[in-house]
């Protein structure tokens, strides 16, 4: 895991001191809210419905046990005993007092964490594959490149006041587990013609009011030129992007209006002047950073594990967890474990302080002190010995964290919605909870197989509803909550936006309608087809019919 150098430490500490002074001046009345708002947003502080909200950065979703314990300490000391993991792999606290924020940021700085660039019109937290460094299909670990991007982008003088926010995601495998085509820039590590590391670059993706799937702008940018190419993209957008209309200020709008070819020409003009200059990533520095992400000291183990296999035979609940939440690992005898934050009826992404301590302890003892935050609002223990998986599972079960539903229908992604968010038009969490209770039967969920259901409480799409296999968007109809359903979206390497199936539904009809959709899939699927495969084969019509078929008497 990357450790801060003296420059990182100094920068974060100076920011804490600076913001502490700003908070004190606001509390005393020396600063007005209009003066203070841009300052607090630069430090991840929003003012939501009920309280301030602090969004803490988790660079590329990687945490140590010490950091996770500190997140729990903050939840317990300054908040209401829990935190909320988001689709950008950050954690949010919903109830901090303004006057506690300096202390919270100081506590975070102690463990090399902060809230810089978690808001505002800047380059946001870079995200990546939650199984980076562990996946068995990986060409190269993307985390060192995320760290290089972090260092380049942090308080970048040219890119701190962009037309709007800018999100980057990186993957190191052909399988896209970071939804890179829904980002302003998506990077996929590939091997260039010479066998050296290079980046396939997608640009202009994004969700929200005007969703777009990112388009390929370059097939193989040499790794040493990555920062030059990113700078060229951002410079082109910074110069040409609209600033007169907030809804049209994203790069996706510029790319769509210019065409990818014309935008590529603009980028190439800047790239030509940048690529042989100071932005070239020095090989020795790249190697120094990569060394922080060297594989942990794995033991040489057989591929199979007696304790694991015996537990599979002895305990059906463990077997189900193993089927659904345990992922193959590149190292024989190891696995990655998905820690679901989606218990039946729970709030997607929420975790209590005590649960944070449990997960931190398990990571320290069984996963080389490492944890990941997934954009699906779950956690991952990336490197667990197969022999230890039954023990870890029992501890997770004790803590209420062993729901065996990873990638299944109740692994719902949902934004905070109108329960917390001042931008929302409708609630999303209660709709997710109702669906979770309705589909709770894990036998049924396993019969369905992988289904991605995403819910957003407004068009800003924090719940990624556009790319859910089934998407749910809350809309306001004359002061009443209604929900628009989409089918056929996908966030992966076959990224697609879902089709709106018809008129929106009242809240209590959403879960029954989704269940009818899933039941219809069970009736019409071909052998071996996942839900999304069936949608792609037959189109949305059969599902539209199911959604509007009847009102559900048991709703």
């Amino acid at each position: 895991m990357y450790r801060y150098d003296e420059f990182d430490h100094a920068l974060v500490r100076e920011r804490v001191e600076e913001f502490s002074d700003q908070v004190a001046r606001r509390a005393s009345g020396a600063l007005t809210e209009d003066e203070f708002k841009p300052l607090r947003l630069m430090n991840g502080v929003y003012l939501q419905l009920h309280a301030y909200m602090l969004r803490v950065a988790i660079p590329y979703g990687v945490m140590s046990s010490r950091q996770m314990r500190r997140l729990g300490h903050i939840a317990r000391t300054y908040d209401k005993g829990y935190g909320h993991f988001t689709t950008r792999c950050n954690i949010q606290y919903n109830w901090p007092a303004l006057t506690d924020l300096p202390a919270i940021l100081s506590d975070l700085a102690d463990v090399e964490m902060h809230a810089i660039q978690t808001s505002g019109n800047c380059i946001r937290n870079t995200t990546t594959d939650v199984f980076a460094g562990a996946a068995d299909d990986e060409i190269e670990d993307p985390r060192p490149w995320c760290e290089i991007i972090r260092q380049w982008s942090t308080i970048h003088p040219e890119f701190s006041f962009l037309p709007r926010k800018f999100k980057i995601a990186v993957i190191g495998a052909g399988k896209d587990r970071a939804a890179i085509r829904t980002h302003d820039v998506g990077l996929q590590i590939v091997k260039g013609e010479d066998g050296e590391t290079a980046f396939r670059v997608f640009v202009g993706g994004g969700q929200g009011r005007l969703p777009h799937i990112g388009q390929e702008i370059a097939s193989a940018v040499p790794a040493a030129d990555l920062l030059a190419y990113l700078t060229a993209i951002l410079r082109a957008w910074n110069l040409l992007g609209r600033r007169d209309n907030i809804h049209k200020a994203r790069i996706k709008i510029l790319v769509a209006s210019l065409s990818i070819e014309a935008f590529r020409e603009e980028v190439d003009k800047h790239y030509a002047t940048l690529r042989h200059e100071d932005l070239r990533v020095p090989e020795d520095e790249a190697e120094r950073i990569k060394a922080y992400f060297a594989p942990p000291p794995f033991e040489d183990l057989p591929k199979v594990s007696g304790p694991f296999d015996r537990a599979m035979l002895a305990d059906p609940d463990f077997a189900r967890f193993a089927r659904n939440n345990v992922r193959r690992h590149r190292q024989p005898g190891y696995a990655s474990l998905v820690v679901s934050l989606k218990p039946v009826g729970g709030v997607p992404g929420d975790i209590t302080a005590d649960q944070m301590d449990v997960v931190a302890d398990l990571a320290e003892r069984y996963s080389f002190d490492e944890l990941r935050a997934a954009y699906e609002q779950n956690l991952v223990l990336p490197h667990v010995k197969l022999d230890d998986v039954p023990t870890v599972w029992r501890a997770l079960r004790e803590a209420g964290l062993a729901t065996a539903n990873a990638d299944l229908a109740t692994d719902v992604i949902a934004c905070p919605g109108l329960d917390y968010c001042s931008l929302a038009n409708a609630r999303s969490i209660p709709v997710a909870q109702a669906l979770s209770r309705r589909l709770a039967d894990l036998d049924y969920q396993e019969r369905l197989g992988p289904v991605r259901i995403n819910m957003s409480g407004c068009i800003n799409a924090c719940g990624h509803h556009h790319v859910g296999h089934i998407g749910v968007l809350g809309v306001d109809r004359k002061g009443e909550e209604y929900y628009q359903i989409t089918v056929g979206g996908s966030p992966d390497e076959q990224a697609a936006l879902g089709d709106i199936v018809g008129k929106s539904l009242p809240a209590d009809e959403v879960a029954p309608a989704i269940q009818r959709t899933l039941d219809r899939y069970l009736k019409i699927r071909a052998e071996g087809e996942r839900f999304i495969d069936t949608v792609r084969r037959v189109g949305p019509d059969p599902f539209r019919d199911a959604i509007y078929e009847t009102l559900d008497a048991t709703a």
């Binding site: 809210e33 003012l47 009920h50 006057t99 009443e480």
Partner: protein
């Protein structure tokens, strides 16, 4: 009829303008105002940014939020509906 609401500077909690335009935490304690008076109270609390952040008016009928943002105001007054962490809930 209208009520003046805002967030409290110190902790961001929902507050209302009550008797004497003082901040109160409960909707039940808020002053219910006619349109003209509400504008005067709004201007008064807007002049106290050390307490009232982003003040605005919302419609009520019998002290219950009734305008276009009635659900939002019900949630603001009673807390999230998601089943943990705060008192009440509007279900």
């Amino acid at each position: 009829m209208k009520i003046v609401t805002a967030n409290r500077l110190s902790d961001g909690r929902v507050i209302y303008a009550g008797a004497g335009n003082q901040p109160v935490e409960q909707l039940a304690q808020a002053s219910v105002l006619d349109e003209a008076t509400a504008e005067i109270v709004l201007a008064d609390v807007a002049g106290r940014p050390d307490v009232f952040v982003n003040p605005y008016l919302f419609d009520v009928q019998d002290r219950t939020p009734s305008g276009r943002d009635r659900l939002k105001e019900r949630i603001r007054s009673a807390g999230p509906t998601v089943g943990h962490s705060v008192v009440g809930g509007v279900g």
